[in-house]
Symmetry: C2
Subunit: 310 residues, 2 copies
């Protein structure tokens, strides 16, 4: 299967991505083989709150990158269905715009709450696209929180998308958002208040609230866009190129952060499966609910079993 993926077999790739998401036996071995062929794509994270227009922006980015002769994979991490794991139709709708273009591949992922974990599954899909030879892989995530932090760990550049008029509470998000942003995008910038968003970002950054230990003096670019009309997208691509070109140190850091995140995701997926297996018979859960045992003791037992499987 790995050989078919490397040979450019799109069906084999789609199947491997599905198997990887479902953590099917065999997928891991193929991913292991592919790993030596990864690390060449540029991984760009696009993140922001619901309603800021990320999907439209990603569509426009795909357009521009294609026009520049680059091939593009898109992984849309969508928050639907944490329990059933069902995907959403956005995929198919968006595929149509680029259908027939073999230089574009779009894949939506459902949020997997339980086994395996979204971070692991997303990384697997990104790896497959990377191994397939796509020049750029865009990873689009919704929401604010752990997902965004995870994206920032696997991406070479993180684009944080904001819009005017999302209210005061969004301001309180900035502390977190500032720290993961490599480039800010103020989308829907034809709306009232766009300049105020830019101002506030500049203000927050001048207060140093976006400073990260690994880059205390870095100041992210701020690009205004109207994605629905394609405005500002060239400037955005330019800002991303400039960031990646200037930031060779960061890019190297990104590769290491990604490697660490990859190991962590694999380990966590493994122990999640072990936790589920250990608790499957119900007796342990009953003991916990009745306070006859405690989570730390049970956790220690599971970790002790980990060696046998590893």
């Amino acid at each position: 299967m790995a050989r078919a993926v490397l040979a450019g077999d799109v069906r084999a790739a789609a199947r491997l991505m599905r198997d990887a998401e479902d953590d099917v036996a065999g997928a891991r071995e193929a991913l292991r083989v592919l790993y030596a062929h990864t690390g060449r794509a540029r991984l760009l994270g696009v993140t922001g709150a619901p309603g800021v227009g990320k999907s439209t922006l990603v569509d426009r980015l795909v357009e521009r990158l294609r026009a520049a002769g680059r091939t593009v994979g898109v992984v849309a991490v969508d928050p639907s269905s944490p329990f059933t794991g069902g995907a959403i139709l956005g995929d198919r709708v968006r595929m149509q715009r680029h259908s027939g273009d073999r230089g574009v591949y779009i894949r939506s992922m459902a949020t997997r709450g339980a086994l395996g974990g979204l971070a692991r599954a997303t990384m697997d899909v990104v790896r497959v696209l990377d191994a397939m030879g796509f020049d750029d892989v865009l990873v689009e995530t919704v929401g604010v929180g752990q997902d965004e932090v995870d994206v920032s760990r696997i991406a070479d550049a993180v684009l944080v998308v904001l819009v005017p008029g999302l209210g005061d509470e969004v301001q309180s998000l900035k502390a977190g958002i500032l720290e993961i942003a490599d480039v800010f995008v103020v989308n829907k910038s034809d709306r009232e208040g766009a300049d105020r968003v830019v101002q506030e970002l500049n203000g927050a950054m001048s207060l140093g609230s976006g400073a990260r230990a690994d880059r205390p003096s870095f100041v992210p670019a701020i690009v205004k866009t109207v994605a629905s009309r394609g405005e500002g997208v060239d400037a955005l691509v330019g800002a991303v190129d400039a960031f990646l070109a200037a930031g060779e140190g960061w890019a190297a850091g990104a590769a290491r952060r990604r490697a660490q995140a990859e190991v962590q995701a694999v380990v966590e997926a493994e122990v999640r499966a072990q936790v589920a297996a250990r608790l499957a018979d119900g007796q342990v859960l009953d003991d916990l609910v009745a306070r006859r045992r405690d989570p730390w003791t049970v956790a220690a037992e599971i970790l002790a079993e980990a060696r046998a499987r590893a």
Copy 2:
């Protein structure tokens, strides 16, 4: 320390929560002792996208629950600062409204990206509040994604807060939101479009898109509120009471889900620490970046070491 917490020593409790968040040695032993004294509080999750007014709503809920003679702990999981782990001032501002009332305790948590993990730290803080004897513990989370799923795993009841006018993209979130909601809150319902939100929720639910395997025929209540004026909050408290009263089967299920989530959080925190320790010297990361080794092999080695520490 555990004894002081059980005796109602608020300072000891605050210190234990801080130690637990930072995963300080000794905190775990205290939590282990406290565990036998937990499981009595009602755990209510309050979740929704940024800007829907969760904080105001939680404030009003605290007011009403206090008026009914119940003591209340609040854990506000805020998305600030995934990297530095700094907290936000919201805490102190909100504390003032209830300052002097020993029946209320509010604690904000920063999103911890790295060691330990937010889920584990949140559970620890909830456990301390539970052991302190608070009747209700409200856990407020921002964003949509893994955090929300985690809340739904530890809560006896999950309140999902929506508002009119958040745009089309929010609709696409509903698939996920429907499944974790025990009660829907349409806040800011004096705004145009509130009835449409209610309609859309009803429509989506009648299509069965909120059905969970463990409760196929359950239909969450929908309560309209204007939290800023306190409107609808009594009805909301009533809906939560009704849900918990009617759902004894679910409540038992919640305790088991929580136990499983607790074990998982402890195990994950443990292996995260091990991953960090194993990768600290940099050589392994260099090997991964250069593709001399792969994440699965490294993960297997870490799991093999897990036994020694467990």
